[in-house]
C-alpha cells in the first residue's frame, strides 16, 4: 500500500510537491472541520422527544465569514499556483540553448530523435532510437513533443512531467533532472488498445556517460 508520491528527480518536482502538500494540509484541515462538524451535529442534535429545533433562516454574519475565508484562501492559492505555473510552462520559461530532443509518439511507441555529436537537433547527425530516452542530469533539457496519429501523453512520474502530444502540433516542454537512474515514460492519455503498454525506457546519465552513450549510438548507425 504505497500511497505516496514517487521519488522526485526534477527541479520543478520540488515546487510541485511543495504545492501538493500545502494543498493537502489546507484541504486536510477543511476536511477534518467539515466531517467532524457533521458527525458532531449528527450526534448532538439527534432527535429527542420534546426537543424543538431552533427556528432560524440563517445568519448574514456567519455566511459572510464562510464565504470570505475560503475565497481569500483560494485566491492566494490561485495566485501562488499561477506563479509556479508561469515558471514551468510560461512563454519565457523555456531555457535558451538547452539540449533538445524530438519525441514523436505513435501507436504505441515513443520515437526519440537525439541531437547527435554536434549537440544540435535538426542536423544531419541526428539519430532516432525507439522507446529509449537517454538524457543528461543536472542541466535543463527540452523535449519537443509531436504525435503521428492520436493524442498521447508524455508522462514521467519521477520527473513530475506530463504533457499531451497532439497530432498536428509541436509542443516544447523542459525539465531538469537532479539525479541519475533508470525510469519509464508512460502514456497518460488513452490512445487505443495498446495504451497500457506504451512505455519507454528513461535513462538519466551524468553528462559524460550520456556523451559516451550518444557517441556509441551514432557509431552504431
Amino acid at each position: 500500500m504505497d500511497w505516496s508520491l514517487p521519488l522526485n528527480l526534477s527541479t520543478q518536482g520540488v515546487v510541485i510537491d511543495r504545492l501538493f502538500w500545502i494543498i493537502a494540509v489546507l484541504t486536510g484541515v477543511a476536511f477534518i472541520l467539515v466531517e467532524a462538524g457533521i458527525i458532531w451535529f449528527s450526534i448532538k442534535y439527534r432527535r429527542r422527544d420534546g426537543q424543538k429545533a431552533h427556528y432560524t433562516h440563517g445568519s448574514k454574519k456567519a455566511e459572510i465569514i464562510w464565504t470570505a475565508v475560503p475565497a481569500v484562501i483560494l485566491a492566494v492559492l490561485g495566485i501562488y499556483s499561477g506563479g509556479v505555473w508561469a515558471d514551468i510552462r510560461g512563454a519565457s520559461a523555456l531555457p535558451q540553448d538547452a539540449l533538445t530532443f524530438n519525441v514523436v509518439a505513435k501507436q504505441f511507441e515513443w520515437n526519440i530523435t537525439y541531437p547527435g555529436s554536434d549537440g544540435r537537433i535538426d542536423t544531419a547527425d541526428d539519430f532516432v532510437v525507439r522507446n529509449q530516452f537517454h538524457f543528461p542530469a543536472n542541466e535543463p533539457v527540452i523535449v519537443r513533443l509531436e504525435s503521428e496519429d492520436v493524442i498521447h501523453s508524455f508522462f514521467v512520474p519521477e520527473l513530475r512531467v506530463k504533457q499531451d502530444a497532439v497530432p498536428g502540433m509541436t509542443i516544447p516542454i523542459w525539465f531538469e533532472a537532479t539525479g541519475t537512474g533508470e525510469y519509464q515514460i508512460a502514456c497518460a492519455e488513452l490512445c487505443g488498445l495498446g495504451h497500457y503498454s506504451m512505455d519507454a525506457q528513461v535513462v538519466i546519465h551524468d553528462r559524460a556517460d550520456f556523451d559516451a552513450w550518444s557517441a556509441g549510438q551514432a557509431a552504431g548507425n
Binding site: F108, L193, G194, S197
Partner: protein, 288 residues
C-alpha cells in the same frame, strides 16, 4: 477510401448483424477441421487422375540485399530469443540466387475444393511466423501469441473489412477470416513497429509461398493452362503461364532481380509487372 462509405456501411451492417446473431465472428472456421493440420486434407476430395502439381523456384539476379538488424533493445524478452547477431529483418530474404517469401497464385480461377482446417499465424520473439502466408476466402486464420507481452494484429485490407485486435499475453489465440479475395492484406503490430506480415487471400486452393530456398509447390491443380502471378513486397508482382497435365509436375519459375528493388507495390489491388518488349511494364490489375 472514405468515399466508399455507403458500401462500407452496408458491409458493416451485415457483419454487425452476423456478429449479433452468431455471438462471435469466428468466420468459416470449422471447429473439427483442425485435425488435418491444413496441409493435405484437400487431397482427399480430389481424384488424383485429373490433377497435377505446379512446382518451381523464384530466381533472383543481382546482389542480394544485406539483411537489416532490428533494434529490439527496448523489448528485451524478444531480443533474448535471437543469437549473438541479434534479430534481423525477415522481409527480404534473397540468397544463392533465390528469393523467399514470394506469394504465387493462379489467376482467373475460382472454386476448387473448399478450404478446410486453419492456417496458422504465430507471433514469436516479436516477429510474425510466417512472414507471408496464403489463405482461401473464408478460411480460418488462427492467430497465436507465443510472446508473453502485448501484440496487436492490425490488418488493413482495402477490399475486405480490416480488423485491429490484440493479444496481451502468451497463449492467446484469435480466429479471423476474410470474405473477399485480396492480394495482399498487410498486417502489422503497432506495439512493435518492425512487425509486418502479408496475407494473400484467394478464392481457390491453388497458391504457394516460396520457402527460404526459393522453391514453392502448388499441389492438386486440375489439368489445364493457367496464368500464375507472383507477388513480393519489395520487388513487385509478375505473371507467368503454366500448363498442368494430369499426374504430372509442371515447372514454373519467376525471375526477379535487384533492379526491381523499390517497385511500387500497391496492396489489395494486384499489380502486374510483365517483361515486355520495352522493358518492364507495370499494370494495375484492377484497371485491365
Amino acid at each position: 477510401m472514405r468515399s466508399e462509405f455507403l458500401k462500407k456501411v452496408s458491409v458493416l451492417v451485415a457483419a454487425g448483424a452476423m456478429a449479433a446473431c452468431g455471438g462471435g465472428d469466428s468466420g468459416g472456421g470449422d471447429p473439427g477441421g483442425d485435425a488435418g493440420g491444413g496441409e493435405a486434407p484437400a487431397a482427399a476430395q480430389v481424384d488424383p487422375a485429373t490433377v497435377g502439381t505446379i512446382s518451381g523456384t523464384i530466381n533472383f539476379a543481382g546482389d542480394s540485399p544485406a539483411p537489416t538488424a532490428i533494434d529490439m533493445s527496448a523489448e528485451a524478452d524478444c531480443a533474448a530469443g535471437y543469437g549473438p547477431d541479434g534479430p534481423m529483418s525477415n522481409n527480404v530474404i534473397a540468397a544463392n540466387g533465390r528469393l523467399a517469401n514470394v506469394f504465387v497464385h493462379l489467376t482467373g480461377v475460382s472454386g476448387g475444393p473448399a478450404p478446410s482446417g486453419s492456417v496458422q499465424l504465430d507471433q514469436e520473439n516479436c516477429r510474425y511466423m510466417p512472414h507471408v502466408l496464403g489463405v482461401q476466402v473464408g478460411q480460418n486464420i488462427e492467430i497465436t501469441n507465443s510472446d508473453d507481452l502485448l501484440h496487436n494484429i492490425n490488418a488493413s485490407p482495402t477490399e475486405n473489412r480490416g480488423f485491429n485486435i490484440s493479444q496481451p499475453r502468451a497463449g492467446i489465440t484469435s480466429n479471423q477470416s476474410f470474405p473477399l479475395a485480396e492480394v495482399m492484406v498487410p498486417v502489422r503490430c503497432d506495439v512493435h513497429g518492425w512487425m509486418q506480415a502479408y496475407i494473400g487471400v484467394v478464392d481457390h486452393p491453388y497458391f504457394g509461398v516460396s520457402g527460404p530456398d526459393g522453391s514453392f509447390t502448388i499441389p492438386n491443380v486440375p489439368a489445364g493452362t493457367y496464368t500464375a502471378e507472383a507477388w513480393h513486397e519489395a520487388y513487385g508482382a509478375m505473371s507467368g503461364s503454366v500448363t498442368v497435365t494430369a499426374g504430372g509436375t509442371a515447372t514454373l519459375s519467376f525471375d526477379y532481380s535487384s533492379d526491381m528493388a523499390g517497385a511500387h507495390v500497391p496492396l489489395g489491388e494486384p499489380l502486374v509487372i510483365r517483361h515486355g518488349e520495352h522493358g518492364i511494364e507495370v499494370h494495375r490489375g484492377a484497371q485491365d
